[in-house]
Amino acid sequence: MLRYLRTRQAKLTPILLLSPALLTMLFVVALPLLFSLYTSLTPYRLTRPESIETFIGLRNYIRLFSDSGFWSAFGRTILFLAIALNVEFLLGLGIALLINRITWGQRTLRTIMMFPMMFSPILVGFQFKFIFNDNIGILNNALQSLGITDQAIPWLVDGKLAMFSIIFAEVWMSTSVFAILLLAGLFAMPRDPLEAAKVDGCNAWQVFRHITLPFIMPFAFIAMTIRSLDVARAYDIVSVMTGGGPAGRTELLWTLIARTGYENSRMGQANAMAYISTILSIAFTYFFFTKLVAARRYMGGAE
């Protein structure tokens, strides 16, 4: 009997020890999530609190499935994410490799590189909104003064240029996330394989392609996972620069969700949109984690 109790106690101990963490997770993460899931099944309006008690089942979701505006924003967000992540990765990799090569002033450069991240995204939005302004913006004035064009280029109005402009602002602000993480990867890299490769007569490209790049790829995938979650929720910069317009040409998921939820007060429908959009984030996270595991296995010599 005593032994039984003792074994039972021993079995319970981990659960007991974990319970503060589990309870915190329950109250801080699970309950709010469940609550917002419930509100997505109601016609909940912020300005009519009693509307939360009306259950309408999947009506919000059914409406969304036939809402072409929502799916355009969904597709545009994927495009925005794909371009921004790739450009940030390539630029971040270039910066990291360059900084890794210099021996003097490296710390100062690393600090300077972090500057764009220190600004609030709203300020970055305003900054680029005025840079890209077609009439009084610096960019058009510079292009006209240099004689490159005699037109006022509508940076924030033309569909493609407007997407380019908001991606530019996003990339300007966050490329350093990639650069810092990849630089950390480069610092942690052992010198032996590099020296061995040189002894074996590999050229610089071969060393980079077969040794450096595989080694830093796990770092890149971690950066991509973090940034994909960030970019999928892009709101401030887009909201300030274009507000999702003109005519919905730069509408992303979160500008649409924020407008529906707050300006239109339709929080129930906004939550339904947000739940569908989390599928996007989960898909990207899963994809990058699979890649991360594969990259690690490759480094471990399993392949």
Partner: protein, 440 residues
């Protein structure tokens, strides 16, 4: 004695006279009470809040400012308070365009503020502050738009001759929106100079479309609350924007413009005609900020084809919550913030007062200070506030409906749809909103 000194002396002599009625006002005694408030923040609104300590001294109460945000953030916060049922504060900044959304969280001020005080306000502005027969806000300052223009362009003889030759009538500050369109195309020389400009997104462009719709003889909703803006008048109004856009008479970027862009654009001296709010007047005529300072003309907003002038208007205001634990103190506070002397402070920076007397006194002050342009501004804007001003429909769905309209206005400007198609599409969505809200 120079004329200026004489003017200054007269102005100084007037001050005690003007201050007299306020000194006599009794704001009550609320010793030990703390009034919790949520106010709109921002450079042009802050000088008034420096006065709050005077009310605290007079009444013995304390004011706790819970938040001081721009109007859109404040709007979110108030909606969150309604949702979370945490309206544990008494006074909030409000706006005539926002007020109908909040349902009945705010008290009817007809019951809290005495009729004599209310009688000192401009009647039309009080009417605009009334939702469903309840005065849910006390107007603090108003706004309406009039047409600013670069004077020298209209005085230039070459311009006059060339314009007459091309359009067959004399070049003069415009009286109708059709003339604005002609003159804008005449002056435009892109990308260096534009005839006019307009805001192109959010509620802003819907407001501009709406006022032109009214001036063209149309209406947003019919008597059954069905969308009626896709009428012939609606198409004429939208065509005005589209036509100027296609003629390159406005900057290509206008679909993305908001108030800062149009204001700074006119001040940069690259736009001939600019319909804008009174708040920009002083800025446009300030040599430090504006390249057109000293060359700014102002006329009342032009007329549409129906003979009615555009006059989309709104007022910043203060409201008192129904849940307030001391409505008397709250009423005393909002009365104080909108009294004669407080409005004189706001008016001196160019904000339009809501009290009849302050219009006159502020104008007298500007005249005494030799600020002739500001006298002209107050003359022009007082005429439009009392004769032309109208608000959007005061219904909770206004912002939501406007969010369906503006992307379609942009689509028409950019050529994705014709004006009729754009307005039809917007009307279909607006109808859904109105049906959901139980209007039909």
């Amino acid at each position: 004695m120079s004329r200026l000194t004489a003017k200054a002396l007269i102005a100084t002599a007037l001050v005690p006279l003007l201050a007299a009625p306020a000194a006599a006002q009794d704001y009550g005694n609320f010793d030990g009470y703390t009034l919790r408030v949520k106010l709109i923040g921002g450079a042009q609104y802050e000088p008034l809040y420096a006065e709050i300590s005077k009310w605290e001294e007079m009444t013995g109460a304390k004011v706790e400012i819970l938040s001081r945000k721009n109007h859109f953030e404040l709007d979110r916060e108030i909606k969150q308070d309604i949702a979370a049922r945490t309206l544990d504060w008494c006074v909030g900044s409000n706006h005539t365009s926002f007020a109908p959304q909040y349902g009945n969280i705010y008290a009817d001020l007809n019951e809290l503020i005495d009729a004599d005080t209310l009688a000192d306000f401009v009647p039309l502005v009080l009417e605009h502050s009334t939702v469903d027969g309840r005065l849910v806000q006390l107007p603090r300052h108003s706004d309406v738009s009039n047409l600013f223009y670069i004077k020298s362009l209209f005085e230039d003889d070459d311009n006059k001759a060339a314009f007459k030759a091309e359009y067959g009538y004399d070049l003069a500050p415009p009286e109708t929106w059709a003339q604005v369109s002609d003159q804008a195309k005449f002056f435009a020389n892109p990308p260096d100079f534009y005839g006019t400009q307009y805001v192109g997104k959010d509620e802003a462009v819907v407001g501009r479309f709406y006022e032109l719709l009214v001036a063209e003889g149309g209406q947003l909703f019919n008597d059954e609350w069905e969308p009626a803006f896709n009428s012939e008048a609606g198409v004429r109004a939208l065509d005005w924007f589209v036509d100027l856009y296609n003629a390159n008479a406005v900057p290509r970027g206008v679909p993305n413009y908001l108030w800062d862009d149009t204001g700074l654009g006119f001040a940069s001296g690259t736009v001939a005609l600019n319909l804008d709010w009174a708040g920009w007047s002083a800025f446009f005529n300030d040599p430090e900020n504006s390249k057109v300072a000293g060359d700014v003309g102002l006329v009342r907003a032009p007329k549409g084809s129906s003979g009615k002038r555009t006059g989309w208007s709104g007022s910043h205001s203060f409201s008192i919550t129904e849940t307030c634990d001391n409505k008397e103190a709250a009423a005393s506070f909002v009365t104080f913030l909108t009294d004669h002397d407080r409005q004189m402070i706001e008016a001196s920076s160019g904000l339009l007062p809501t009290r009849t007397q302050v219009w006159e006194d502020a104008k007298a002050n500007f005249a005494a200070e030799g600020r002739d342009f500001m006298v002209e501004v107050f003359d022009t804007f007082s005429a439009s506030m009392s004769e032309d001003a109208f608000t959007p429909p005061l219904i909770p769905e206004w912002i939501e409906v406007s969010n369906e309209i503006w992307p379609r206005i942009q689509a028409a400007m950019l050529g994705d749809m014709s004006s009729q198609e754009a307005l039809d599409a917007a009307a279909r969505e607006a109808l859904l909103i109105m049906e959901d809200a139980g209007y039909r």
